[in-house]
Amino acid sequence: MKSQPPIVIVDNLKKHFPVTQGIVFQKTVGQVRAVDGLSFSIVQGRTLGLVGESGCGKTTAGRTLLGLYPATAGRVLIDGIDVQHATRNKLMLLRRTAQMIFQDPFASLNPRWTVGSIVGEPLRIHRLLATRQERVDRVKELLGLVGLSPQQINRFPHEFSGGQRQRIGVARALASSPKFIVCDEPISALDVSIQAQVVNLLEDLQDRFGLTYLFIAHDLSMVRHVCDQVAVMYLGAMAELADRNELYEHPLHPYTQALLSSVPVPDPKKDRARHRTVLGGDVPSPINPPSGCRFHPRCPLAGEICSQEIPAWREISTGHWVACHKV
């Protein structure tokens, strides 16, 4: 497995948004450092989880990765295509190879389009099939793949439940036969009993088509279940990256430790026996992030060096990366 070359390589990716003042003559007064130095790679057929609290830059990272936002710095290679420097033709190819599933199945489907037009749009844009009939057949096949009925092709999004709509979103993402899909909180808007259905569907499709996923989520229990590797972000920067069981059983970064101990366990006896680290305070603003290590104002281990120097991104053991002075 290790010998396989990664299909997605992200190297020191940064995305800053300018903060402007004034209406006519806007001047930049600061930068929101939404993503500030992200590095990881994903092997084909695997899933990398990107976790962190709201506002930590997970979604921005996913969108910058696919070139939906121009990156401020850094490099992203997806299946050999350099996202930032791709030509028009290469970019069209990238849009076919890499797809996205969005969080809100109510907002991400056009309410005036039928399911057939929604799922068939990538086929039309990329001119993947010559005739209308072929496209209709393919859309029906896709609907079947995600567990919907091909007869529902002429229905509108409002006729479906949340879980079914998310299936439509999955079908649309699959239409252009991609290799890599960014799943941006694909289940957080769904009820528990429906979440498992969608997660199982994503896993089946991965097995069947060898798909590679970037799974962006804040639900740490689900990430442990779904992902092979997990990256933890805090305020735009990477805190820790490791294989699933390594990260959950031997977390090294104090933020990862606190995050994991905050996750409620559905087992009252275990929950009572557990040692809890409750972090004080809130996540600071990414406009003027704390100096040195961004986590130091909330960190139980913080020392003098933490507020002065940015900790290096180091590989502690094979495949286990961490950015902390105290590890």
Binding site: Q197, L220, L259, D271
Partner: protein
Amino acid sequence: MGRILEVKDLVTRFHTAEGTVYAVNGVSFHLDEGEPLAVVGESGCGKSVTMMSVLRLLPEPPAQIASGTAFFKGRDLLKMSEEVIEHDVRGREIAMVFQDPMTSLNPVLTIGYQIEESLKAHLDLEDEPARERAADLLAQVGIPESPKRLAAYPHQFSGGMRQRAMIAMALACEPSLLIADEPTTALDVTIQAQIVELMLELRQRRKLSLIWITHDLGVVAGLAERVLVMYAGYIVEEATVDDLYDRPQHPYTLALLAALPRVDRRRNQRLKSIPGAPPNLLVQPHGCPFAPRCEFAISRCRTENPGLTDVGPNHRIACWIDVRTRKQR
């Protein structure tokens, strides 16, 4: 310990343009003084509507409380006049904390004003003592520099601080019962842990009775003693937390727990998903509401609704089947 709240056979419906929504279909439960009770269920299961009906917070029409009683400290809340319930009960004796602190706070009034408002209305306090008490309340829920913070507007607070302010507001008149409706759902896990800790501490210190409404079976394990599981407007299982997680007996509870990934365990298999979707509440219920999705269902389940029956001490379920033997009980 005495009973503080006893709800019997509550039925709530909504009359809408699309037809009648059967939201709550005969719910009975009780709460003892000082007890923490959790109500669990997915969206649309009637957990919030039940509590809103008890507090008479639903606009009538479209809502209609068709039948039932809700005795709180010996008085039936469902028969009280609007004036009495507003002045004596809501905010005074029973307070509620809602899910989204941004929409339940008024954005154009200061935090201080909104806390003082309830103190002045219920306790007839003057300006100065009301302000002092408001500052004291904010300090109690863990907001630093509280006297200064009274002048802040909700948008100047973070999500966690807003929820703390909401809790301060709810506690203003020293209620004996606090109903928290998904108070941590909009918050991040680290902030959720802070709020859960705060609520548990306040409950102990003030001997509060607490009803915690949530969809998260994880949170429940850490904070309640007794749990009600709701589905499609019915209570389907009632048990102590230990029983519910160790010996769940209703097929829905079983399925829900099996569908949950665990942060504390290695993955060993696929998640067991529950097929289908929750029922359409516009259809008048008949039979067990979970039957169409239930792996144990028999023909009787589709025609006759099993009422809640005892299956052990403090353990009741609404099911015809014994899930351990797969036979009719």
